[in-house]
């Protein structure tokens, strides 16, 4: 009996150690140039979310290009400010790289967190997704024009659900209101899934979300997309117009993107090194596969172009939040 117990216990320990040994850390090599020790990637969300999944994917591919271990750390909390605070309290040496999305400048603009775009340097974006305005398949709104017409006659009556306040969905909805000169009621939920549930249950009139959130329901014929926010029509839905075609010049390439940031003061050559690695990652086959499986597009932007995008989002969102208070 005793022996049997010991046997089970040994097996348990063996199994756990063998499969988790992979998570252990490695020794540093003695190279003088960056990177000469392991790099941390900080995720401002809990483990398992889309931002976390992407960072872990990037980390595992980038290890090869960096020639160093890349450790992913989750620092959730405070709408990203816990991670941001952690990042800017480290050395500006490029060994701490923070993941975030286009939501970062938006939360900054809302005043929800006490930071501005000057507190970070954007290194590169990796993937993106477009926004959609979608309704149930049995909705009376066949086209975006129907939606606008009804909203104009009944201001404030339509309920549009989306994920979070002061985030990408919220800004997108405000821009649609602004561009079409209509007024509807944006109701925030904790995540796109929860918002979609309300639409499917007949408890909301429309959803403003990223394309990946509604994709499956669209394929099943349950949900109809009225318009997409990219500047060109998307290959997945060639019949659906863009907002730009419909006359909403302000909703042009309104994308949700995910990317990486470092602390201001990080040396130029280090930032370039990180950019090179991230570029190689986006060009890798594994990453392409990941992007395809998760319904995202590879979207690699760096340098001044990215800084302009970041500042534009910040200023535009700030203006919107003030006007639609």
């Amino acid at each position: 009996m005793k022996r049997k117990k010991l046997f089970y216990f040994t097996i348990l320990l063996l199994l756990i150690t063998s499969l988790l040994a992979a998570c252990g850390d490695n020794a540093n090599s003695e190279d003088a140039t960056y990177p000469d020790k392991s790099i941390s990637m900080i995720v401002p969300f809990s483990a398992g979310g889309p931002g976390d999944v992407m960072t872990r994917e990037v980390a595992s591919i980038a290890e090869e290009f960096f020639g160093q271990t890349v450790v992913v750390e989750n620092k959730p909390g405070g709408s990203g400010s816990v991670a941001l605070n952690h990042t800017i309290n480290q050395e500006a040496d490029g060994y701490t790289i923070m993941n975030h999305s286009s939501t970062l400048p938006q939360t900054m603009a809302s005043g929800e967190i006490p930071f501005t775009p000057d507190d970070v340097i954007p290194v590169a974006t990796m993937v993106s997704n477009y926004h959609v305005l979608a309704v149930m398949a049995d909705s009376p709104f066949q086209t975006f024009e129907d939606f606008v017409e009804y909203a104009k006659e009944n201001p404030g009556e339509l309920n549009v659900v989306g994920s979070n306040t002061n985030g990408a969905n919220h800004v997108f909805s405000l821009k649609v209101m602004d561009g079409a000169e209509i007024d509807f009621n944006y109701v925030a939920y904790d995540g796109g899934g929860e918002a979609l549930t309300r639409l499917l249950g007949g408890n909301a009139d429309a959803i403003g979300a990223s394309g990946e959130v509604v994709q499956q329901q669209v394929e099943a014929g349950e949900v109809r997309i009225l318009a997409v926010s990219s500047s060109e029509r998307v290959p997945l839905h060639p019949d659906i117009p863009t907002f730009k075609e419909l006359g909403l010049e302000n909703v042009d390439d309104e994308l949700i993107w995910r990317g990486f940031f470092v602390k201001p003061g990080t040396p130029e050559d280090v930032i370039e090194e990180i950019q090179d690695v991230l570029k190689s990652v986006t060009e890798s086959e594994e990453f392409a596969e990941y992007a395809e499986k998760t319904n995202q597009d590879i979207y690699f932007v760096t340098g001044e172009e990215l800084e302009t995008i970041l500042n534009d989002i910040y200023n535009e969102s700030k203006d919107l939040f003030e006007r639609y208070k």
Binding site: I16, T17, L20, C23, G24, D25, G156, K325
Partner: protein, 148 residues
């Protein structure tokens, strides 16, 4: 410690907390004025209810007979809390989690122990502490990658 007196103190503190929440809520009431509810609506309802039920509880306590609240080994309770607080302060500013937790365990084992021989007491406390800390290091840091 008197049961009735401690209840009064706790009720007063709770009502004070409700008042603070009520007071802070006034800054929140103006957000999104065209919505039927504001971030202040719920805190105000709850704070008001706390004040009402607090007063009711005050009255029912008045009518109760007083009893003594037993706080067994209160000296140890205080020692443990103080040691933990010192541990947290040092951890926050110095790091050194494993060394500090070894010291915390060692200290608590030592003062709780009833072994008379001081050297033996110290050896047993230290030995147990190092085993526990070692086990924690293996499980959390080595197996699960949780770093302190």
């Amino acid at each position: 410690m008197s049961y009735k007196k401690s209840t009064y103190v706790s009720l007063i503190l709770l009502i004070a907390m409700a008042l603070v929440f009520m007071f802070v809520s006034s800054d929140l009431a103006g957000i999104q004025p065209n919505q039927p509810s504001s971030p202040a609506t719920f805190p105000r309802i709850v704070a008001t209810l706390i004040i009402i039920v607090g007063v009711i509880s005050f009255i029912t306590t008045l009518r109760q007979e007083d009893e003594k609240v037993e706080l067994a080994n209160f000296k140890y309770v205080i020692t443990t809390i103080v040691a933990t607080v010192i541990f947290l302060i040092l951890w926050q500013y110095l790091g050194l989690f494993y060394i500090l937790s070894f010291l915390l365990l060692c200290f608590l084992f030592y003062i709780f122990s009833n072994i008379n021989n001081k050297i033996r007491k110290l050896l047993i406390s230290g030995g147990t502490a190092i085993t526990v800390v070692g086990l924690i290091y293996v499980v959390f840091s080595q197996l699960l990658g949780v770093n302190f």
